[in-house]
Symmetry: C3
Subunit: 363 residues, 3 copies
């Protein structure tokens, strides 16, 4: 990454904290991994196993923790460091700053091809992209950015500095907090999946239908949340579906109606959460995890990838139910035995009986 | 939910059936759960466990079955009821009616920013939203509603009262029946996944390519079906993919080419159904279920969430293959034992042999 | 399939290879399966079990391998054949040709409702559909086709003959090779899922936040790849995510940042591949498979549907970890035994001890 802009280590420390060890006036122009960085780049050490690379790197400066700095035996002469308790987060913040310096700013205003209803209220500093639609009663905050083809329903509220990527759809009445990012194709506020069965009779004689239950809640998304591409978050049936602040949701995730996802929880791609489920704060939900409806997960629950949660998990900790793939032949052997576990158990029981009989017979 | 409109219990019974017990002239303005409803609201009892709430509710009236009404020991004085065999479905119908009363009607016509090919035929009562596209030969029925950014391919037929939410794509030649609802971002009629292998040689010496098999069927969707957000239903290879009437499909579901989904079947979110599979009527497919290609499911089959179906299921009933998550440590213990089940079985066999030898030896 | 155009068998052989057995001047107008084809149609035999149908088919001609032709005992009088080593791939190529003959050609040019930035470079032979957006610096190749609502970010490169279906989004800087097909709603180049934890304290006292890691890589897609509807492929964090040539990806698949998918690999619907994973060439990834991040799969690996891969698979071959659904009651029995496998093992151990004690006692 090269931004074309240079910044001194002193300036970085002024903006992001930490302490310079070395030359504060040294200038860097971008970021790179330890093994690829050159003299104009800043690298970082976040994982002990790369400690030796710090001694050989050509990076102009390295973000490092005090403890790791103290472990260095032979830093290169003239090495520069910024010492910080969390080099990885520091790196992320500096990287954001370089991008802001280098990225072209979109011009505020409504693209001529966009449609904004006269009864919508769009901040003058917002950017409304080509072919975007903003319906009546919607409110778009300061510096919000709506990319091409975004569709904002009636009465939606978008906070300041929201960024909606192309072809995002937000249904009527939903509310997104400040700095929320929603990636392309995501759908916020579609109808929850609710139908009342109204059938009589059995089998071929069954008649009747499913009656749609109107979904009159909406979706609330807290400040600093990020929603992945093509993810879907359904509106509530009567009350709202709630995504709290700083929740991070990956691509192709489904969140059912009336769920609540606690603050700072992260949900990896392809996970599915059925309706009315309540997930605590600071949880980590792995990829392709399925969580049943109407259950509650405590704060700090971790569910590993591809596991299924069918009941409430009331204690923090790590939960699992997935098998790792093995060779097809080996798996088939195990799978057949699993299907016949009751027979293995019966054979054990028979052995126990036989042995007890023998003992009794001998007694 | 409050609509601002009031309606008498007599009027509800006139429109939706049932029988008033109490004051027929009583007016309600909206719906609410038993524990939250006030005197201007209608509540419903669909689940026995909430029976005590009927005696304490402040609701102006309650939808209830005859059997449950007879169980009440101390209904509040002046309580009003509408007696109906299916209070939940009745509630759903009343809720729909309140929404129709209160929701602003979209004005018929084509939005100036939409593109409708001159060779398409759009009913005068239809609503074509901003930035929608309707290609040549498409037919759009009475009162159909196409929201912002919807794309309708050449020769598509959309029935009366269809509602396509923003950014839905319907590929050329597909046909949707009356009252079909498709939520935002869904894709109807993309090419099925079909490629003929045309390779020679093995390993690093392999040459050749995958040859695309043109997908010249389409997708047919029956009346009253509902399709969830970002769901994908592929067009057939030679014949059509068919979704029968009143099928309800949730978000992020994949239906492969040439499948047939029987009437009234419901499919929950994140399920995937491979090509040429035939699912019966009145089935219930749980969330994240995977169903292999070229299999058949009988009518009235239920597959529980996250299960995998690899063979035909010829009898109605409930099928499962998912494990619920347990603590990671416990799971790892079980998983290791599963991988070594053949060793446990061998130990049982050895015990059986040893015991038989002993018996023979003693005989 | 009927195209309205007729072509002789000799002409087919001239274009696609093979050898006519029968009348080279015979004309066919379309393709159909053996059991449905009439005298104006070409059928094919790709599977031994349909050999008897070749003797009874009414097809005007049949694509067949030399080996299968030799097995025919009583072909109908006047039967025509084209002999080819791979009838299925031949069929696919002929079907493509018929479609090209019969499909109306889209007119080159930019639709009046599309927005193309003056600083983008679009080939004159390209077709830019209604409401499409092409941002500054993008390059669109010869005969490329961008359907309605497609959004192309700044600096994107699209090769010749690319076809992007409606509402596809390609983020800035991504590069698609020649003849790449992307189906509706797919999202190429959204931010990878990367956040640095910056929290202090435990439990309710935890404070801090997730810091977004800028994703400054892009996505590269090789020639002849095909990407399914609503599939998402994330851009890399520092380096690019790479999809090599002729990779075929089905609908609703998630590919994480910095993955590399080897040439000719096919990935079925609903699969999810976490970040920084490296999949070899000629692999086959089944539907709904989950693959962990930072693992490597060798060339020619096959993972069966719904399996989970948590470690590298260094040898070609087939891998599995999914159970097929059985009746719910049977499954629950097995599942309970699995959860208690350690108890079964302990009972076996107790039996072994008891038997050994007996032997020792008797010795």
């Amino acid at each position: 990454m090269a931004s074309g802009m240079a910044i001194t280590l002193d300036e970085l420390v002024r903006r992001f904290g930490g302490e310079v060890v070395g030359e504060g006036a040294y200038r860097v122009e971008g970021l790179a991994p330890l093994d690829k960085a050159g003299p104009a780049q800043l690298a970082f050490l976040a994982n002990q196993k790369y400690l030796p690379q710090v001694e050989s790197t050509r990076a102009g400066a390295v973000l490092i923790s005090r403890a790791d700095l103290d472990k260095l035996t032979a830093p290169r002469e003239g090495s520069n460091f910024i010492v910080t308790p969390n080099p990885y987060a520091y790196f992320a913040r500096v990287a954001q700053a370089f991008i802001e310096l280098s990225a072209p700013k979109a011009k505020p205003g409504v693209h001529p091809s966009a449609y904004v209803d006269p009864a919508a209220k769009v901040a003058a500093s917002a950017v409304i992209g080509p072919h975007a639609t903003v319906e009546a009663g919607a409110v778009v905050g300061e510096r919000a950015r709506l990319d091409a083809g975004v569709s904002i329903g009636a009465g939606v509220t978008l906070g300041d500095d929201v960024h909606l990527y192309p072809n995002v759809t937000v249904y009527h009445g939903c509310r997104l907090g400040a700095r929320v990012i929603v990636h392309a194709g995501a759908v916020i506020g579609a109808d929850g999946f609710g139908f009342a069965p109204d059938f009589v009779g059995e089998g071929d004689a069954r008649t009747g239908s499913w009656v749609k239950i109107p979904q009159v809640g909406a979706v609330q998304i807290g400040d600093d949340a990020e929603i992945g591409a093509n993810t879907t978050i359904d509106r509530g049936a009567m009350a709202d579906t709630v995504i709290e602040e700083c929740v991070k949701i990956d691509n192709l995730v489904q969140i059912g109606h009336n769920c609540r996802i606690g603050a700072y929880t992260v949900i990896a791609g392809c996970a599915g959460i059925a309706g009315s489920t309540n997930i605590g704060k600071h949880c980590m939900i792995g990829g392709a995890v399925g969580i049943a409806g109407h259950v509650t997960l405590a704060d700090y629950v971790i569910v590993t990838a591809q596991s299924g949660v069918s009941k409430s998990l009331t204690k923090p900790g790590m939960y699992t139910s997935a098998f790792p793939a093995v060779s097809h032949a080996d798996w088939n052997k195990s799978a057949a035995l699993v299907r016949n576990l009751d027979k293995l158990r019966d054979r054990i029981k028979a052995l126990e009986t036989a042995l007890a009989d023998k003992k009794n017979g001998e007694a």
